[in-house]
Structure formats: structure tokens, C-alpha cells
Symmetry: C2
Subunit: 374 residues, 2 copies
Amino acid sequence: MRFSARGHEVSVVDNFARRRWHQNNGTDSLTPIRSLDERIDAWREVSGHELRSFVGGIEDGDFLEQVVVDTKPQAIIHYGEQPSAPYSMANREQAVETQYTNVIGNLNLLFAMRDHVPGAHLVKLGTMGEYGTPNIDIEEGYIEIEHKGRKDTLPFPKLPGSLYHCSKVHDSTNIHFACRIWGLRATDLNQGVVYGIETEETAQDERLATRFDYDEVFGTVLNRFCVQAVIGRPLTVYGTGGQTRGFLNVRDTINCVELAVGSPADAGEFRVYNQFTEQFNVAQLAELVKEAAGHLDYEVGIENIENPRVEMEEHYYNATHTKLLDLGLDPSMLGEELVESMLHEIERNKDRVIAAAIEPKTRWKPAPTAEVAS
Amino acid sequence: MRFSARGHEVSVVDNFARRRWHQNNGTDSLTPIRSLDERIDAWREVSGHELRSFVGGIEDGDFLEQVVVDTKPQAIIHYGEQPSAPYSMANREQAVETQYTNVIGNLNLLFAMRDHVPGAHLVKLGTMGEYGTPNIDIEEGYIEIEHKGRKDTLPFPKLPGSLYHCSKVHDSTNIHFACRIWGLRATDLNQGVVYGIETEETAQDERLATRFDYDEVFGTVLNRFCVQAVIGRPLTVYGTGGQTRGFLNVRDTINCVELAVGSPADAGEFRVYNQFTEQFNVAQLAELVKEAAGHLDYEVGIENIENPRVEMEEHYYNATHTKLLDLGLDPSMLGEELVESMLHEIERNKDRVIAAAIEPKTRWKPAPTAEVAS
């Protein structure tokens, strides 16, 4: 919608996988999501612009190639991946599905670009979770290493924290390769944890609403805390809550994509931006939500529960994120006002909350089966 | 055969993919490879030991899980991958097949280990090609990085040189993850380029022969030069021949695997060995073969042809490889004597050489199609 509003011809490729995953999981977005056709109709009414749609899976290389041939894009924004860490950790089938969808879909795209639009700019959604929590500052994609009297600038080492995050590292490796060998141009947006409900475009009509997930599989932490506050449940902090991450408002995600597309990578360049605006730890977010919710007379408790993930709970974390600011990003900062506006929105859809979907069931390290213990 | 000879119970899993790829490609091993059943029969006759076999693909997670349940291995040696860089670069279908077979097969194995033999030791065939040719010394899997006053030991950054090599990087990432999160134990053998024809075991009976590939897709450079010398063709050096790599004799590969299995990684440890014994550049190998072949009265020319790969031809290369030596590896060094023995062996099978399969056809950077150029 952002690029369409700016007058670009935009095509959408979707296989409705996210809808299917939610359905199989018994969960749903808090905001009702209309069908793709209804959303396209609504956008035409609101903006006067036409969006073209292609329905199919990018794991089907022939289908994707045909889309690229038909549309000859100048920029491709690749959001078409399985995006949930818990989903990828639930069992072997979901782990395989995640790595298949993400790695093979992306590989098909690289071949379609090489063969049909080698000058196009790929803007790929990555994740800050590729880096993990190293004991040194995290740089934007690359690090200059001095070693035994010699120097090179090399890909920043990765310590991904789930099989989903591993799949994103694989994608980065494949895209970097395609840039180095085939001369493609790509920008990887290593995004932090997203919060918030609406963007400039979705706010124009409720039929344009984007997803607001708060469940244990697809939800993100601040969204979840806000929903817990509204339905009167304690905010469940995994472990001590000392886990620090980069965060950003969903409005900024769209601004970042627009900035990235506006300054294409050079031919052969694999550019990496760390796409977040502020660092917080989980305990700080819980306190912030408790405070803001208190102003609206919600009674909120905080509960530290056993961490279902395997991750460090107290660690060093300092990630560079200057490149998007240099391009002109003007961040929306997180504060009580923003949380209060989220709480208001959630209150409006309170009857849609599926409370049973919030508690974490997916464990990074499942208990040994009887057979293994024997 | 090595582990069986030492008295271990050994099972083999095979889906005959390498045979199928050769057949589709119109190529074959110089040494005739018997069927798996014939080889098992021959080994029983020679050694008195029984080998158990399972026929199926490791991409089938249920099949692989059942093999692990049936055999409860203490060590798993994972050689079951598509191993050719040119094969992975030929077209989209083969690139996808390579990454699917290698990444998903390995992922299925990690889940089977987690659920049924979490204490087993995975010994995985990696490749020195994961590192590429950085401008600093290559370490064994990890590097201590000092950055802005802080320090951490992190995975060595990777610059894989083909989509096959990318798939091996993906595997390393997944295995490292499984060790960190699930506490599995694994050793990655980042192997150099292999040369040579026989091992201690295969030399005992011609029915036990292992593969000797010299074609552009599955062959390795020294093997190819030796075949070219015997059939009276010039040794074809890709580009200037300044490409430096680590090399080892096929006899040493088996010794290295034995050493790795004999010293299992700790629970949670992802150990990495750089498995090669000497560094050479391609031009040096051509000179060596020319010299040795001269002693046997072969007239040998050297021809520098256009490099079908995208790679640096003049570069720094110094890779650490002390860990296997520390475990007791006693390397077979490469010299004229060894090359002469290879030439003798090739002479015996000279009538099996498929000369048309040697010239490189697979290009890393294919010429743009008419459509792209338009």
C-alpha cells in the first residue's frame, strides 16, 4: 500500500500460509483480516490505485519465475517466509516446513531474478535474531576482523536462536552468494521485534487492517503484554526478563522498507541494515505496560514464568543501527502514550482475544520421551 | 569398512543418489562400483564381518527416524549429501535439489538424534570450501574476535563459493544450533580436496573399490589431471591456476574419520576440524602431474582455459589444521611417487574414461539469455 500510494505499480504474491498456520493452530489476529480481494477492493476505494495479485507458493519455482516474467519488477520486497521461532521449534515437521519454505522459496526468487531481472533490487526481511547475543557489539551485517597481523571485512558471525532464525541465516548466506557471484543487488533488513497495530495506510479503513498477533506462536512480546493487561491476566515474563532485544514500531517497519527501496544496493552488493529503533529488556517492557495500563485503571500483575526457550537471560547487548537513521528514518519512540493507544485498540477487539493461545506451550528443549530415558 | 574391521556393528544408509546423478549426467566412476549388496557380500568374504544396510532417502524423516530407532547408533557418520559444486550451479532445479537434500536430510537427522540417541556423536562431512578465501588466516571453526574493547569466540565467518558450499554452511549452522540448544555432540570435518584411489580396505578386493571421479561435475582436480595425462590430453587449468586449497589423500580421509569418532565431542559441543594435510595451488598440481607423468613417458601439456567458476585466482590462503594432527593423524604426503601410482591405476582402467565428460560445461555465471539482454 505504501508503494502504491506513492504511484508505483505494485503486485502482491500470497499463498495465504499465515492464515492456514493460524487456523491449524486455533489462533487468529486480534484485528480481523479481510480476504486479499476485499483488501484490494478497499485500497482501490481509498486510494484510487490498483494492486495486482498472484496466488501461489514461492516454493514453486516455475510459478514464481512466471510472476517475475509477467511483472518485471524493479524492486522485490520479500516478506514471504514462515516468521515464527516457536512454530519452527514445535516438531520436526514444522522445522522442515520452515526451512523448506524460507530457504527454497528465497532460492527460487534468486534464480528468477538472475534470469529475468538481474538489475532489480531485492529487499529481504531478515531478523536481528540472526546475530543472537554475542559478547561484542553487533554491527550491521559485516565486521572488520584483525587477526594475526592481517585484516578483512567479513560477514558478522551468527548465533541464531531457533530453527526459524537458522533459516534466516541460511537465506542471508544464499543472497550474499548471489550478489557476489551473479552481481545481484540486495538489502537485508535485520528487523528487531515489532510492536504496534497500525500504519499510515491501514489506519485509513478498517478493511485494510494488518495483523496483530499476540499468541505464543506468532505474537511478539509487547503485543502480548498489552493483550494480557486488557484481559486482566498477569504479564508473563519468560525467566528473569533480562533478555535484551531491539524493538520498533510497525509504522517504522514500513518507513524502513521505503527508505531501503529508495536507495538501492549497488550491483553485486549485499547491504545489511539493522532495522530497530530502541533496545529494551523484557522486564522493562512489562514495567512499561503495567505503568501505562495503570493510568487506564487496568490492574496489572507481572509473573515470571519458566522460560520455554533456551536463551541467555542476562547478557551483553549493544547493536549498531545507524544506517537507516542516516537515510532519514525518524523513529517513533516507545512510551506510555503509545502503549495506552494500543490498549485502547485492544479494548475495542477484546471479545476476539483467545486467552488460551497466550500461554507458552512450545519448548525449545522438550522433556525426553520415555523411550529416550530408558 | 574401517569401523567394521575394528569390530564395531555398522549399518549403511543409502538411496543410490550418486549413482543416479552420474547416470543422468552420462558419467561414471573410473573404478567400477559394484552394487551395495555385492560390496557387502565381498566385505563378508574378506573380513568375516556383517554390514547392515537400509535403502532410503534421508529427506524422508520418518524413514530416517526408524533407522535410528532400529540401530541406536553411538556414532553417526553423515556422508549422505549432494557433494558437487558444479552440480549445484547448473540450474535452479539442481540448486534446489542440493539444498533440499543436504539441509533437510541433515535436519531430519538432528531431530532423530535428539529424540532417540541424544548422547550419540554426529561426525559430519563438511568442507574447507565453506570458508572461501578470506584475507586472514582460516581457523578451525571458530575465531576469537576483539572488537571495541570486548572479546568473544564466535563461528568463523563463511564465504562459500557455490550453492553446494552454501548448503554446507547451512548444515553447520543447524548442527551448531542443535548442539547449543539440545545438547547434542557433533564434529564437523571441514575437508579439503580429496585425491587418490584406494584405502586400506578397498585395496583388499576389487569388488570393494570406492569411487574415483574425474569428470567436470563430480571429479576433483588432481584426479582429473591424472586422467588427462593418461589419455594424452592437456591438463586444463581453470584461469591462472593461482587458486590455493587444502588437499588430502583419500586414505587420510578415512583415518581422520576414525580419529574423530574415537574422540567424541562433549555434550553440547560442536567441534570443527579442518581436514586436510597440505596446501597447493592448481598450477603447482599441474606441474607435479606433468613431472611425474614424464617419468612414465606420458607426454603432457598444460593449458590455461577460461575459468568457468567465479573465484579469486590470486589470493591469500593460510588455513590452520592442527587438531587432527594432535589426535595422531600421520599424513600421507603428496609427491611424484603417489602420482605415479595413480597413473598406473588409471592406465588399468583407461578404456573406461569418458573423455567428453572432462571439459567444464557448468558456468558459475551463465551468459545472459536473449530475454534478459533485451
